[in-house]
């Protein structure tokens, strides 16, 4: 059993054997030709490929035949309940591939891919990119771990904002899969590259850190090129670690639906042979397929169990019972208000939308009465803000901070306590394209706003009949930073939100 370690607990240079051998493996793969399944570019293209984003072909280099491209490229699963398992398979096979190269060069037998825990609360340094990824040249030769990244990332600046890197919100999701709210792992879907229902872990920190590292123009910011950046794999090892951490919570569970756990995906195995892998093979990192553990899987919320409905410490039960309970709760979600405009267009300024709220239908106790269950406590209720069918027609776009009930005339940023969440840039354009392997309906995000509503109610500032939602661009600073580096600054494009709505979920 190998251990994936925190990259910031390793020596911060290539004297560390884990990072040294990682750079050796990456360097070796980068020398291989594009049409070889075990080459760097082929592996990256499995996640996403767009010719205009890739380095030009070298002399004698050619692309694989179209049949291979169609079957094995552009297969990354996003905005779907397959996001986590697909990426676990992908990163594990890549790690095996690195390991084969390292063993062939007499490297350490226990080598494992490290992870980058940018959410770690200990120091701000943890959120900077480790040195071995930032040096363009080492000993006069090109560093295989270096690429262009967002302004400040390669100069040792803190990567991303607190909101982009935080990992506690997703840990509060107590269901794995759902549709508004979308749960920890995303909404049910058929396999497709961008389905539409982004899980809480996928949005923050995954999507938002892609945006923070890749900015508006560099590889990590675009799903079609992200895996070309060697930090991609450490980022995804961290996301995988968060899944393991979430799995460790007493109330966590998985869908039992065979449409999820029997689904298979096509890859080339580390020996270069075509092979299919099933979701059910990777539900644990300790077998049947995988063989690794993480150095640290401490839950940032602490060891206390989290309630299925309220996000508060509460019940414990078996996984099957919890899954049934979670599904039951999801079936009782109801819309209590939604925007009435056909759509809302977001640009470079602050935009708001207001809409009426309705009293929720009194359905919470129907089940209890039918089953003759005695009410043991006042039913709890969660409230969720949903942004439905968010689309874009071109990039780059802004990330948007989403606020609730900001007082008239006030600057949204002066009310951080009203921030519900941030919309991503990563994958939004792809989710909006109806061609190819995409759903084409845009992204659907959900933010748990129970605590904000509760705080507003306590202060007497919650209007139960009307809600105003305000959008403010989050990462406008990147443009000025790009300009200061003398790099081209592409004009930002608009984003359209199909509908803003509020859902409630009853307690049990």
């Amino acid at each position: 059993m190998r251990t994936r370690r925190d990259v910031w607990k390793l020596a911060n240079d290539l004297s560390d054997k884990t990072l040294y051998w990682y750079s050796v493996a990456v360097g070796e793969m980068q020398t291989r030709m594009f049409d070889q399944p075990l080459s760097w570019k082929f592996q990256a293209a499995v996640h996403g490929y767009k010719a205009s984003l890739y380095p030009p072909l070298r002399p004698g280099e050619k692309l694989p035949v179209p049949g291979i491209q169609a079957k094995y490229w552009n297969n990354c699963e996003h905005a779907s309940w397959f996001f986590l398992p697909w990426h676990r398979i992908y990163v594990f096979l890549f790690e095996q591939l690195c390991r084969n190269v390292i063993l062939a060069k007499n490297g350490p037998k226990d080598w494992a891919l490290p992870y980058w825990d940018y959410s770690h609360p200990s120091t701000a340094k943890q959120r900077t990119l480790p040195d071995p990824f930032r040096q363009q040249k080492i000993g006069g030769t090109n560093n295989p771990l270096y690429t262009n990244r967002a302004p400040g990332v390669n100069t040792g600046g803190v990567v991303g904002t607190d909101q982009q890197s935080e990992n506690t919100t997703c840990m509060k999701s107590s269901i794995f899969s759902g549709v508004l709210p979308n749960g920890f792992g995303g909404g049910p879907s058929t396999p497709m590259q961008f389905s539409g229902y982004t899980g809480s872990c996928e949005n923050a920190p995954h999507n938002l850190m892609h945006d923070a590292i890749g900015g508006t123009v560099d590889w990590m910011g675009d799903p079609y090129s992200a895996a070309l950046d060697p930090i991609f794999w450490l980022h995804h090892a961290n996301i995988d670690r968060l899944w393991v951490t979430w799995q460790g919570a007493p109330n966590s569970t998985f869908p039992s639906d065979p449409a999820w756990n029997s689904q298979t995906f096509d890859f080339f195995d580390p020996a270069g042979n075509p092979k299919s892998y099933a979701v059910k093979d990777v539900l644990q990192t300790k077998g049947p397929l995988c063989d690794y553990i993480y150095e640290n899987t401490t839950n940032p919320l602490g060891p206390t169990p989290v309630s299925v409905t309220t996000g508060k410490p509460s019940i414990t039960a078996s996984g099957t019972a919890l899954e049934a309970l979670a599904r039951k709760v999801m079936r009782k979600s109801q819309v209590i208000g939604a925007s009435t405009e056909p759509s809302i267009t977001l640009g470079s300024g602050v935009a708001s939308v207001s809409f009426p709220l309705h009293e929720p239908a009194p359905i919470a106790d129907i089940g209890k009465r039918a089953l003759s269950v005695r009410e043991s406590a006042a039913p709890s209720q969660t409230v969720h803000l949903a942004l439905e069918n968010i689309t874009a027609t071109d990039k780059p776009i802004y990330e948007y901070e989403v606020y609730l009930s900001v007082p008239e005339g006030a600057a949204p940023r002066s009310h951080p306590e009203l921030l519900a969440g941030i919309t991503p840039r990563f994958g939004l354009l792809e989710a909006s394209e109806s061609a190819s392997k995409h759903g084409g309906q845009g992204l659907n995000l959900s933010f748990d706003i129970t605590e904000i509503v509760s705080a507003l109610q306590k202060k007497g500032e919650w209007d139960p009949k009307n809600l105003r939602v305000t959008f403010a661009p989050h990462d406008a600073h990147i443009d000025a930073a790009l300009a200061s580096e003398g790099r081209p600054v592409p004009a930002r494009q608009s984003v359209t939100v199909g509908r803003v709505s509020v859902y409630t979920l009853p307690g049990i």
Partner: protein, 257 residues
């Protein structure tokens, strides 16, 4: 006491499965299809030979010594077409209907689903009329050949990437206004959009069904293919294609209408 309990269970079913009445509708449609297949004629203006519906609908004709008008033909067509549509194509819609219910205000859930269903059935009925007219243009001596051919065409279509692409697009989610005429219009429109997308994905299957004259066992075979790709998306399209080739063989050997 029992009645109260029953009412609570119905309420619970309606809360947790708002789409359940659509399932009942589909079950009823299967019962009607079965009844028609067992030879109990749907009306005086149609005949059943080998389980195949044979009423011409293109114009007024003399049938059993009586003048049968276009309206009567149309009525007969609807009697066959609607149960077939509700039986075969509506169950795969349950997820979309549930989503529409979930995105509607509580008081509007059933109305929203009904409007989607109406839009869906309206557009499919137009498709059905078109394909029925086409079928009747084919001379009867070519019927078996055209049926086997339509099965083979459907088997090929199942394997194309275009089919898979249309299948992915089939269940894209709608943007629904919360209330008022905009909400009603959005639901009707979504029903039509769903029908158009499903039509693009399943046209070959429905063509095979129409070519058989809506014969019961053909409907069963086609339904199993449609449902498999909806409810078991992980299943390779080779299986459904294989089932359709088998269907073509059964037609050629005279075991399937």
């Amino acid at each position: 006491m029992r009645l109260r309990r029953l009412r609570l269970w119905v309420a619970l079913l309606s809360v947790e499965y708002p789409e359940c009445w659509v399932v009942f509708l589909s079950v009823l449609a299967w019962a009607i299809l079965l009844k028609l297949a067992l030879g109990e004629s749907a009306g005086p203006m149609c005949s059943m030979h080998d389980g195949i519906y044979r009423a011409p609908i293109a114009s007024s004709t003399i049938f059993d010594g009586r003048v049968v008008t276009f309206c009567q033909h149309f009525g007969t067509f609807i009697v066959h077409w609607l149960p077939m549509l509700l039986a075969m194509m509506v169950p795969p819609l349950l997820g979309s209907l549930r989503l529409v219910a979930g995105r509607s205000l509580w008081s509007r859930r059933h109305r929203a689903m009904a409007l989607v269903l109406i839009g869906y059935v309206m557009l499919w009925t137009v498709f059905g009329l078109g394909s029925e007219l086409l079928r009747q243009a084919i001379p009867s001596r070519f019927e078996r050949g055209s049926l086997a051919g339509s099965f083979l065409l459907a088997a090929l279509w199942q394997l194309t990437s275009l089919k898979r692409r249309h299948l992915i697009q089939c269940h894209r989610d709608p943007i629904l206004a919360p209330s008022g005429w905009r909400a009603d219009g959005a639901c009707l429109r979504y029903g039509c959009v769903l029908a158009a997308r499903c039509g693009l994905s399943c046209w070959a299957l429905m063509a095979a069904c129409t070519a058989s004259g809506h014969a019961f066992w053909t409907a069963v075979l086609i339904t199993s293919v449609v449902w498999a790709e909806r409810f078991r998306p992980a299943l390779s399209p080779r299986y459904s294609s294989g089932a359709l080739v088998t269907g073509a063989l059964l037609v050629c050997t005279g075991y399937l209408a």
